[in-house]
């Protein structure tokens, strides 16, 4: 039976469009923000680094949520959203890793050290690489969904660990200036504004990408059925 | 005891079962017939709950035991040990005396490791487990193969017992055998 492929809906276009539109504005704000007392202009990497890392966390949280949903109701749609979000999350976290490394070189003198935040972040990255390796190893859609759901749930444990690592282990890496566990903020208001704006832009992009990717996955599934 | 409602099953792109309906009550023996690759084994695995239908529903009341072909055992256990663990893990009601008695009746050495069993001996042991564990649904894949004359006689007796106690579904290529033991047959692979 010939079914027409669903098209991206208005929300998807809106998120993507708005995100892409505001991206230059975000860059502008980042460049216009005042230099840091210690780091000078180098601090501008932060406006990429921090939102990317947070969006990575958020994406994995969404994967976690949809994996839980899938446990209670095995609807392939949930699985597709979970996988899409994990994929976009990997991209964002990868961006955070790369920008972090670029930042580390001038500040700490090396690209990489075995330091708790960096280590836990790398591990987090590995968890979701494993998630996709597992998916690629299973052909049966039901089994694939189940297996990756389990990883999506168990693997999420690493997100709070990565986040808390700077507190639990005395770390070289910056501790939180915006502490999500206590709600304390220590940052110059202008920098904070720029940061929050970039966060908003990244979130819009994330939403757009995930919806788009899930749709692609739906097309693939439909093609498999045919 | 066992009910298939419009069951469809697909592997990859190929449909193997297309809308199978089946109802088996205790006291019935149903034979599955059909050419190679027509989905008999698949149907048995669906009935056991080891596969899930792509569409439709499989319902079952009571425990099922699937006798695959060839049967599978832990090869480092002896027959006696294997049955003892089976009784514990399947929470069977029978006891070890019964198990030992059955081993004797089936002509099997109780203390030889199973890796030294010949194919017919393995088949006999698999059949014996049905009597010991008393599942409500028997699912047998080509149960008549690998057995000698005496083994076949034991199988026929066993199926009489099964007819009294359980709902039995068996897959076979032996038409004479199917005719002799089955109350009904289901022919697969005719679209």
């Amino acid at each position: 039976m010939e079914r027409t492929l669903a098209r991206p809906d208005a929300w998807t276009w809106a998120f993507l469009g708005l995100g892409l539109l505001l991206l230059p504005v975000g860059f502008y704000l980042a460049l216009a923000a005042p230099p840091d007392v210690n780091q000078g202009y180098l601090v501008r990497i932060m406006y990429l680094h921090v939102p990317a890392a947070w969006l990575g966390y958020l994406a994995f949280f969404v994967t976690f949520l949809y994996s839980l949903l899938y446990v209670f109701r095995p609807d392939p749609r949930y699985d597709r959203v979970a996988a899409s979000s994990a994929e976009i999350g990997l991209v964002f976290l990868g961006l955070a890793l790369v920008t972090g490394m670029l930042w580390a070189r001038p500040t700490w003198g090396v690209y990489w050290t075995w330091e708790p935040r960096l280590t836990t972040t790398a591990i987090l990255f590995a968890v979701y690489v494993g998630y996709f390796l597992l998916r690629s190893a299973i052909e049966d859609p039901d089994l694939r969904a189940k297996a990756s759901t389990a990883v999506g749930i168990l693997g999420f444990v690493n997100v709070p660990i990565s986040y808390m690592s700077v507190k639990w282990w005395r770390s070289l890496h910056q501790t939180q200036s915006i502490d999500l566990t206590t709600g304390r903020v220590q940052m110059d208001p202008e920098m904070l504004q720029a940061l929050l704006f970039n966060l908003l832009v990244f979130t819009l992009l994330y939403l757009g990408f995930v919806r788009f990717r899930a749709l692609l996955a739906a097309w693939e599934a439909q093609k498999e059925e045919a | 005891m066992l009910r298939f409602e419009d069951v469809w099953k697909r592997f990859g792109r190929d449909w193997v079962l297309k809308g199978v309906g089946l109802e088996v009550e205790r006291g019935e023996v149903v034979a599955l017939l059909g050419p190679n690759g027509s989905g008999k084994t698949t149907l048995l695995r669906l009935a056991a709950g080891l596969l899930r239908p792509t569409r439709g529903r499989v319902e079952r009341r009571g425990e099922a035991l699937l006798l695959p072909n060839p049967p599978a055992f832990h090869r480092h256990l002896t027959a006696r040990e294997h049955l003892a663990y089976d009784l514990a893990l399947f929470q069977g009601s029978g006891g070890m005396e019964e198990a030992v008695g059955l081993l004797e009746a089936f002509g099997l050495p109780p203390d030889k490791p199973l890796l030294a069993f010949s194919s017919g001996m393995r088949k006999r042991l698999a059949l014996l487990r049905l009597l010991l564990l008393r599942p409500g649904v028997w699912l047998l894949d080509e149960p008549e193969t690998a057995l000698d004359q005496e083994g076949r006689r034991l199988l026929l007796e066993l199926l009489e017992e099964g007819r009294r106690r359980a709902a039995v579904v068996l897959a076979t290529h032996d038409l004479d055998f199917a005719r002799k033991v089955a109350d009904r047959t289901l022919l697969l692979g005719q679209g």
């Binding site: 494993g130 690493n158 | 480092h76 929470q91």
Partner: protein
């Protein structure tokens, strides 16, 4: 549940009969400690510093081999289907296999402690706290290992993925165990080791609960 115990003991017996898993894993573990000691030695200070790390790295690797034994025999002999047909919900299968893994890991750890005492000049005065750390660490490890081994057993020949999936989840557990062990070895007071124990405890509870809940679900259909 009696069945949990029966299953664990049966698996132990099978492994001992096969002489397979056990010997391989234990020899692997010992050789690994030996080679690490050889590579890091001969200075006593350095060895003593590396002891906790070496012990747990050894445990982690030997443990990943052990993990594939959790359902290895079932897959080799084709008996997994049969086990899944046993009546009742399937949590007990998870717990049986977990117990089996725990027993072996603890044995391995104990052996490791003794060997490390010899090779790495590791002091064993605080034996019971060390044992307690061993228990907490092993439980966190085994809970995930057993779960993944079960999940992958259905994929035949795919235990492949096991190390990767496993390590990414248990590295935090291993790190916390290393820290706790180090603390004990350098003679920190127990209440400075406590946070690590608490962290391990949290991991254990989360991993065991989630795995046990998900296990029947992933093994079905």
């Amino acid at each position: 549940m009696r069945r949990v115990l029966v299953l664990a003991l049966r698996d132990l017996r099978l492994e001992v009969r096969g002489r397979a898993g056990l010997l391989s894993v234990f020899s692997f573990f010992l050789v690994m400690l030996f080679i690490l000691a050889l590579g890091l030695g001969p200075e006593e200070v350095l060895l003593r510093e590396a002891a906790a790390g070496a012990l747990w790295v050894g445990m982690a690797f030997a443990g990943s081999l052990l993990a594939s034994r959790a359902f290895g025999l079932e897959v080799e002999d084709g008996t997994l289907d049969d086990l899944l047909l046993a009546p009742g919900s399937r949590e007990w299968i998870y717990f049986g296999k977990l117990l089996f893994q725990m027993l072996l890991l603890l044995l391995l750890g104990l052996l490791g402690l003794l060997v490390a005492a010899g090779l790495f000049y590791m002091p064993l005065e605080r034996f019971f706290p060390l044992l307690f750390t061993l228990f907490l660490g092993s439980l966190g490890y085994a809970s995930v290992a057993t779960f993944y081994a079960g999940l992958l057993a259905r994929l035949r020949g795919r235990d492949v993925l096991l190390p990767l999936l496993l390590f990414s989840l248990v590295v935090p557990v291993v790190l916390a165990s290393v820290r706790a062990t180090e603390g004990l070895l350098v003679g920190l007071p127990l209440d400075e080791v406590l946070p690590w124990w608490q962290l391990l405890g949290v991991f254990d509870v989360v991993y065991v609960t989630v795995s046990a809940l998900l296990f029947p679900w992933v093994m079905e259909g």
